[in-house]
């Protein structure tokens, strides 16, 4: 067993150089709430761990064109304390804040939740519904990619060798817009999502749903954007009928597995229930804007 090395670079370029040089045996350490568990359980044996928390731009939340650029190493606790993001993207913030305990919140990061690529990651459906973009920096420079394109399957990402996610951009919101995230877990805390549903919508002046995005977590190998579910909401006042159609579309999109956290039938049914409930919350938020 080779000794593990630890580096805490001060810049993105330095981090990228370290990772690129390590030839695949390197892991990025942000909050460490997934990485250290895997390390401890001997699931991974990194030659190098690159701690990105010392890179100041990865720790910042910066307003940008009415939206927010959130550093990949911003923790759940820090995001939850940011009144600005919370006001504009309450669903994204509540999704991130649902991850683990207060102790986990003190460490877990938005970038880490994304790059760990768990199908059940709570923040990812919310970010997808928000149409968030992330900046990826690698040996070949910087590129922007939709959050939905980062995870490709359980534990798998589209990131190339040496590439890291440096920030996530939440776009500007018009008036009467809101989002919401709900997940189902067996207990009230500390579990991995059995199903997660994010709904983002925009109402026009008459209260008609002008835009909507619906994303599901834990019902497929990666979080799913479900345009058919969004279509059930768009063009109407989000009445009970629309909510039922939304639920049906959400159910129809599910491609879950049976595992110890839930069955196919359970996940599918509850996806519909949560879609309806999350849309209700988003709607109430949008109406009170």
């Amino acid at each position: 067993m080779d000794a593990m090395q630890y580096e805490a670079p001060g810049s993105v370029d330095e981090a990228v150089a370290l990772l690129a040089a390590a030839d695949g045996a390197a892991w990025v350490l942000a909050g460490g709430t997934d990485l250290l568990v895997q390390l401890r359980a001997d699931l991974i044996e990194p030659g190098l761990v690159v701690d990105i928390k010392g890179i100041s731009e990865l720790r910042a939340i910066t307003p940008e064109n009415g939206g927010f650029r959130i550093g990949a190493a911003v923790t759940g606790a820090e995001l939850g304390e940011h009144e600005g993001v919370k006001a504009v993207w309450p669903g994204v913030v509540e999704a991130m804040e649902l991850i683990g305990s207060v102790q986990i919140q003190g460490r877990a990061t938005l970038g880490g939740n994304l790059c760990n690529a768990s199908p059940a990651a709570d923040s990812v459906p919310a970010l997808i519904a928000a149409e968030a973009l992330c900046s990826v920096v690698g040996p070949k420079g910087r590129r922007e990619v939709a959050v939905a394109e980062v995870a490709t399957g359980p534990g798998e990402t589209s990131l190339g060798p040496g590439e890291i996610v440096v920030d996530i951009l939440l776009p500007e919101r018009p008036a009467r817009a809101a989002d919401a995230y709900l997940r189902f877990i067996p207990r009230t805390e500390m579990d991995i999502a059995v199903v997660g549903v994010a709904v983002s919508l925009v109402l026009d002046e008459r209260g008609v749903c002008a835009q909507a995005r619906v994303a599901l977590g834990a019902v497929a190998p990666r979080a799913l954007l479900v345009p058919e579910a969004a279509a059930a909401l768009i063009g109407g006042t989000v009445d009970d009928d629309a909510l039922e159609r939304l639920a049906a579309a959400a159910r129809a999109a599910c491609r879950p597995i049976d595992d110890m956290r839930g069955t196919v039938a359970y996940r599918t049914k509850v996806a519909g229930v949560l879609a309806r409930r999350a849309a209700g919350i988003a709607l109430a938020r949008a109406r009170s804007e």
Binding site: A3, M4, Q5, Y6, A8, L29, G31, G32, T33, L36, V37, L39, R40, A41, V49, D51, K53, T75, A77, G100, S101, V102, Q103, I104, G106, R107, T188, E189, M190
Partner: protein, 158 residues
Amino acid sequence: MAKYHVSTSINDEAVEFLCEPQQTLLDVLRDELQLFGSKEGCSSGDCGACSVMLDGRLVCACLVLGVEAEGRAVETIEGMAKGDQLHPLQQSFLEEAALQCGVCTPGILIAAKALLERNPNPTETEVRYWLAGNLCRCTGYDKIVRSVLAVAEEMRGG
């Protein structure tokens, strides 16, 4: 295996230690610094028995690498009492019998202290959700939650 030299602060004292990079802060506290008050119940962040403060944030020491303590401030259960003066939470836990076996107690005290520093007037529900990351198998949490609520009131001068 090359060891890393780390300079940090533990309970307001400057501390230096050597550690291997894969050692967690919990390993370092217990095995290198002989601070056994933080307990290892799971090593996966699920039980909270190793809760400590890191730069003012509540964290599980099992999910922090020892090397990450460089230049930062760590607070553990060993620093909770000041001299021979117990923290009001420690005193209340004794008076209200908010512990049975006591192995989760250090972590719960650290977590409860962090709560009251942020929110001096928590509801029962807020206390319960704040402490959800600290498993206790003995008490059913009843006396713990009552104790935290009582101390909050006492510290507010109620």
